[in-house]
């Protein structure tokens, strides 16, 4: 790397959060789904986003990924304003996501899924003749990502035949393909058994060194086990943000979750 470039990179890495969203507003008709929300994620950090159902978590994540366009506000990622960038351009910059509802290519094998994810980051795919199944550049890295998440032995199984927990693992293997700087995890524990959840918590903790994570999750055990910081969203507003201990003792948060008995 060029000297000036590396200094620039160093400055960005130290002074600026990886992801910085400011004053985001999103309305659906009369509903204020995102109400002037600011949130940031530092490199190597797990920042959890929690809140009751309907708090607007998915709407907020949608704006960060580019599925939704905010009515106002800015989103900066890796030192760039990405507010108006389309989804695929953000992904190319290193912003990967997993879905709330499991979303894999069901008719393809586990390895095909992981390989397609690698392919997405390996230049354009306007190659019409060479067999992608014999492409070591895709398959080797894909297999390594599958092994990272513990799916190595299931490489040649159809994705539709994987268990729910395995499909979520596959999602993460796919998200890892582009060596992302930031992972947006939309309820990765949803629908998992206690055992599967514990395995996933361990997996995510192990990945922390590789990339920052924004974790949207209902499973409070997982949130408090993983998060460095937590932001609480209620009715579209971020009512509190801080370390797990601060959040646990925050009166307003306790109010919002009153009766749910989760904190």
């Amino acid at each position: 790397m060029h000297a000036a470039e590396s200094i620039h990179f160093w400055v960005v890495a130290v002074t600026e959060p990886l992801l910085q969203a400011d004053a985001l507003v999103k309305r659906f008709g009369g509903l204020l789904a995102t109400d002037n929300v600011a949130i940031n994620v530092m490199a190597g950090e797990i920042h959890a986003l929690i809140g009751p159902n309907g708090a607007g978590k998915t709407t907020l994540v949608g704006q960060l990924t580019g599925n939704l366009r905010p009515d106002s506000g800015t989103i900066r990622f890796a030192g760039r304003d990405v507010t108006r960038l389309p989804i695929h351009a953000r992904v190319q910059l290193g912003l990967a996501r997993s879905f709330q509802i499991t979303s894999v290519l069901r008719e393809f094998t586990t390895l095909d899924n992981a390989a397609l994810a690698v392919q997405a980051h390996d230049g354009h795919s306007f190659r019409f003749l060479a067999d992608a199944r014999c492409d070591g550049r895709l398959r080797d890295l894909a297999l390594r990502n599958l092994e990272t998440v513990g799916l190595g032995p299931r490489a040649h199984t159809l994705a539709s035949a994987l268990s729910h927990g395995e499909q979520r693992q596959l999602e993460i293997a796919m998200a890892l393909a582009g060596a992302p700087k930031l992972l947006l995890l939309d309820e990765p524990m949803a629908g998992m058994g206690a055992d599967e959840s514990r395995r996933l918590v361990a997996l995510l903790r192990g990945l922390k060194e590789r990339c920052g994570m924004l974790l949207i999750e209902h499973d409070m055990d997982a949130v408090f086990a993983l998060a460095d910081r937590i932001t609480v969203l209620v009715y579209g507003r971020a009512i509190a943000s801080g370390t797990p201990d601060q959040i646990r003792s925050n009166a307003e948060v306790r109010q919002a979750y009153l009766g749910e008995g989760v904190l």
Partner: protein, 325 residues
């Protein structure tokens, strides 16, 4: 060779190899048994197979139901016909121009119609095809509604397209080339993106694929091979007419692909053979049962299609056993 031998172990492989072998030597057979009409039917089967294979690229692999594919055949045919009428008879000029025009047209209408989904995509591709259809009907200088007799493309010293057997073999070789290209395409990086987008478009976008661009290129590719079929069709009858791109033809192409097996490499070939065999031989068969019934052969063919749609989703291809990939 090893691939061919292992292919012969499955019913699908046996049927496919047998079908291709019969098609390869067909002019010899029709000559030996003096069945020139059969050769002309077979030529049409091979040409429509090319068209169906090209539709299969977007319909089968891309999951996009284009209801205007015959327009590309028409564009290919009319490009040849108009150039021929204007005195440019060299195939070396006609064929590339025809394909180029089809690719440009496919890119234009693809750029608009690929922004829609589902029924809207079907309607908009149909609308554009009808536009081309009525445009060709209005070309009074080139026959208008009645169509136009043309002279065949010339490839001096290479091949004489007036020779029925030679023309058939040319079509057959081009069909093989088209099938070969598709067999490579399916498992190429491009093919994976195209099929992935059919399986789960949202996921592919989230992975970072600009799905629209890949579909547009697939649409243009399908248009190019569709135009090739149109070029051959114009040369087969030395005749062009708007009828070759009526919406009925677009519908026939979808029927052929569905009948043969959507997204199966050789599906369009099985479909075209079945479609034309039924179209040619069902009416005389019904006439044998009762004079005059032949006219109503579609009363039998229609329910047959319904049965395929209901009970054999993968078409003829699925009746030949499970696919290995």
């Amino acid at each position: 060779m090893a691939g061919l031998l292992s292919a012969l172990r499955t019913p699908r492989g046996i049927v496919t190899v047998f079908l291709l072998l019969v098609l390869a030597v067909l002019p010899l057979l029709t000559q030996a048994f003096d069945q020139r009409y059969l050769l002309s039917v077979s030529t049409r089967i091979v040409i429509w197979s090319i068209a169906a294979v090209s539709l299969n690229v977007i319909l089968g692999y891309g999951g996009l139901v284009s209801f205007g594919h015959a327009a590309f055949l028409g564009i290919g045919g009319y490009a040849v016909g108009i150039l021929s009428a204007e005195g440019f008879e060299s195939g070396w000029l006609q064929w590339p121009v025809a394909i180029l025009v089809a690719v440009v047209w496919a890119t234009l209408i693809g750029a608009l119609s690929l922004r829609t989904r589902g029924v809207y995509f079907i309607m908009i591709t149909l609308a554009f095809a009808q536009l081309v259809y009525y445009l060709s009907s209005g070309l009074a200088a080139y026959g208008g509604d009645d169509g136009l007799n043309i002279s065949r493309s010339r490839f001096p010293g290479l091949i004489d397209l007036r020779d029925k057997a030679a023309f058939y073999w040319l079509c057959f070789v081009l069909l093989c080339g088209t099938l070969w290209f598709c067999s490579r395409l399916v498992h190429s990086r491009f093919g994976y993106v195209l099929r992935g987008a059919k399986s789960n478009e949202l996921r592919m976008t989230a992975l970072g694929f600009p799905v629209f661009r890949y579909r547009l290129v697939a649409f243009a590719l399908a248009g190019a091979f569709g135009a090739l079929a149109g070029i051959l069709l114009a040369n087969d009858g030395a005749y062009i007419s708007p009828a070759m791109m009526s919406w009925v033809k677009s519908g026939d192409l979808i029927v052929i692909v569905v009948l043969g097996g959507i997204g199966a490499l050789f599906g369009p070939l099985y479909g075209a053979v079945a479609f034309f065999v039924v179209e040619e031989f069902l009416p005389p068969l019904l006439d044998l049962l009762h004079r005059g019934w032949g006219e109503y052969w579609q009363i039998v063919f229609g329910p047959l299609l319904v049965m395929i749609a209901l009970y054999a989703r993968g078409g003829i291809d699925s009746l030949l056993g499970r696919r290995r990939d």
